[in-house]
Symmetry: C2
Subunit: 478 residues, 2 copies
Amino acid sequence: MAPQLDAYFNQVDSMAESFIDRLAKAVAIPSVSADDDKRGEVVRMGKFLESELKALGAHVEARPLGKQPGKEHLDLPPVIVARYGEDKNKRTILVYGHYDVQPALMEDGWATEPFKLTVDDKGRMYGRGSTDDKGPVLGWLNAIEAHQKAGVDFPVNLLMCFEGMEEYGSEGLDDFINAEAKKFFKDADAVCISDNYWLGTEKPCLTYGLRGCNYYSIEISGPGQDLHSGVFGGTAQEPMTDLVRVMGSLVDTHGRIQIPGLMDLVAPLTDEEKELYKGIAFTMDNLYESLGSQTGIYDDKERTLMARWRFPSLSLHGIEGAFSAPGAKTVIPAKVIGKFSIRTVPNMEIADVNKLVFDYVNKTFAALGSKNTCKVIEQHSGKWWVASPKHWNFTAAAKAVEKVWKVQPDLTREGGSIPVTLTFEQATGKNVLLLPMGSSTDAAHSINEKLDRRNYIEGIKLLGAYLHYVAEEPMKES
Amino acid sequence: MAPQLDAYFNQVDSMAESFIDRLAKAVAIPSVSADDDKRGEVVRMGKFLESELKALGAHVEARPLGKQPGKEHLDLPPVIVARYGEDKNKRTILVYGHYDVQPALMEDGWATEPFKLTVDDKGRMYGRGSTDDKGPVLGWLNAIEAHQKAGVDFPVNLLMCFEGMEEYGSEGLDDFINAEAKKFFKDADAVCISDNYWLGTEKPCLTYGLRGCNYYSIEISGPGQDLHSGVFGGTAQEPMTDLVRVMGSLVDTHGRIQIPGLMDLVAPLTDEEKELYKGIAFTMDNLYESLGSQTGIYDDKERTLMARWRFPSLSLHGIEGAFSAPGAKTVIPAKVIGKFSIRTVPNMEIADVNKLVFDYVNKTFAALGSKNTCKVIEQHSGKWWVASPKHWNFTAAAKAVEKVWKVQPDLTREGGSIPVTLTFEQATGKNVLLLPMGSSTDAAHSINEKLDRRNYIEGIKLLGAYLHYVAEEPMKES
């Protein structure tokens, strides 16, 4: 039986101004986690959430995470965990979000005050954190309140986990999730995270996959100190010469990774999977607009989306230790460190990728016949994540999208990583769904971040509707 | 007839402490030309020279050079020009030096206060500017004073040109020299510059050649702004990928320049020239010591010296616009600028080198088939300089070295450039001699710069002796 959602939806519409006001209050707290001086504001934002949740009747705990590693004078902001509902006969859904934000300064080029929610005549609500991730976090609170005001029974028990360090590497969170998986989070039947974006601006999506990332350094050294190129040029083997040759051997202009064996690790593309990409609402113009140029590798949508989501890529990020300032300097750098990373996909295991990379870099360097020294190092790695979009958690979300937006959602993956996704999946053993609220033009992490009023208000309906559908879905993969 | 120098030499020895005191006074003035805040100290150092020269009876003028280009609130420090002696029957020698110094801070790692001359028990006189170039500049003043005190007739008319911006690109100097070549400097019969170093620590040298330097940028751009490698990796053509491929095609690990035609511009090596390198006081251990490693390209002295002095080299200096900090950043840089330079030698004309470089870079980039945009730019160029070491100016200097140091000097070239050398040669049309005072271990531009007491005191004798020999030398190439 389809859930009766009209009363809830009407209530959301009638409370829209109050929900926007709640978002304005949250945006006004500059909870910048990367800025030590703003740590008090991050804590204040956590307390704001805590008090709002308590007012809604939730059980709330602010859990300390100890000192910030490397900055022992700074406490990490607490994780705000909450439970709303204790009914043994209902499903329990665990939701995650974060209440910290990226840095923002007027002088970065914002058109409006970044920490003042400013709504323009097209309903674009500008402000740091509006879409990433205060809007979605408050979405869950707004859904609870609208149910209460409308007198509609809340369909599930809701577990909430809101952290305050996401924009600074989620320091301490993995250990916390692993520790609480069988404690505070033990009743969770499924997980939902609203912290990503639609692929475009018009069509909602559900996200079932993320690429992983293996990040490497190649350090090449020789001389005891930087040298003058006039005095030593032509007589010393130069680390930069070796490094650009090694880096130049990793990938070609067309994105083809040159490391032997690496592509063999990639799960074969099936015909069925190939079909999936045709229907996705995406055009090459969408790519060109976000690139700011027409310098794409592929000319068609399908191969572009597959290259972003389900094939690996290798990017060269830069070189540490060489001359990097404007102008001219006649230095021979003594030690240079090239940085590159590989975005990974099923079935590339981290250790297998590492071995192929190390072997290839070492062999390529050895072939140069250089007297310099080469070390290749794994800086950090995060695994890819792919969930089954046929799981009842996704089926429920798809129905909620259709109900609210009158359209079937695209099933998407992302080229980047949201490491907490895999952590939740592994710690709880439950299906994780990524259910975005904002759109591709929201400019998270950039100047003039915004959330469209429509995405916020319909998003509140969507989160509530999802909870209704997920409460009713048969507990099996359809 | 060999000059009678004993009285002069004895006088220098007896005044040694006073000459060291004069150097201490100069070192105590932090005349750092690169530091805007220290411009007053540079000017003060110029005034110190002016007053010392006046006290010696020289005609002195402080010549303004106008405002500093790009920093219109700052006056360039004046060029101090002076004339000592007006005897039409004597030769006139023009000497050049500079009274500004490189920056120096205790926290850079100096063992003693950089602006306090500190003499250790081995006679090493530490202090910024001691060897570069206050010691040599004061050498000329000390030579004048010792002649006066000893009652020895000064053998030449001395023209002096001391600038205060050498460590910051000699701003404004070329125009000044060109303008004064037929005015203040018009009587010059030859030029002598004491602003370089012995090849080692024991054997004096005369320097007759310098390499030139053509400095280039390769700018590759594509996307409208920096991109996230998760979102765009695999779908965008990345400027860094193209740039390292182009940079990697310029030179190999063994220093061999890969640009077709470039080596054809180099003057052929003659058997006679080849012989010159055998006798030079230089060992591979000297190279390894200054490199701080054994990562040299050649295993023998002759090829190493030729690679430094008489063959071109190509060094990759770094990349602007890419990620260059420690740590990890998953950026795809939108615009990257690779910097490299070519040290040039006879007969490589600047325009010919540029054409070969531009053609090769453009062709190599085109072969990548990239949609990105590549621009190759000449940032600046300075031509090589080679004088005839058989000129009477050199013959006189060689005799002075033998008189003072009891050894024939090595005839050396340098791998780096001292652009003012070529300017003086071209402006005056006279032979230019580089006559170094300090040794290879003096650490000019580094921490713990020093001048050995022995090099300073014997150097004062050498400069004076040179003036006596150059006064007597037959005016023809021997």
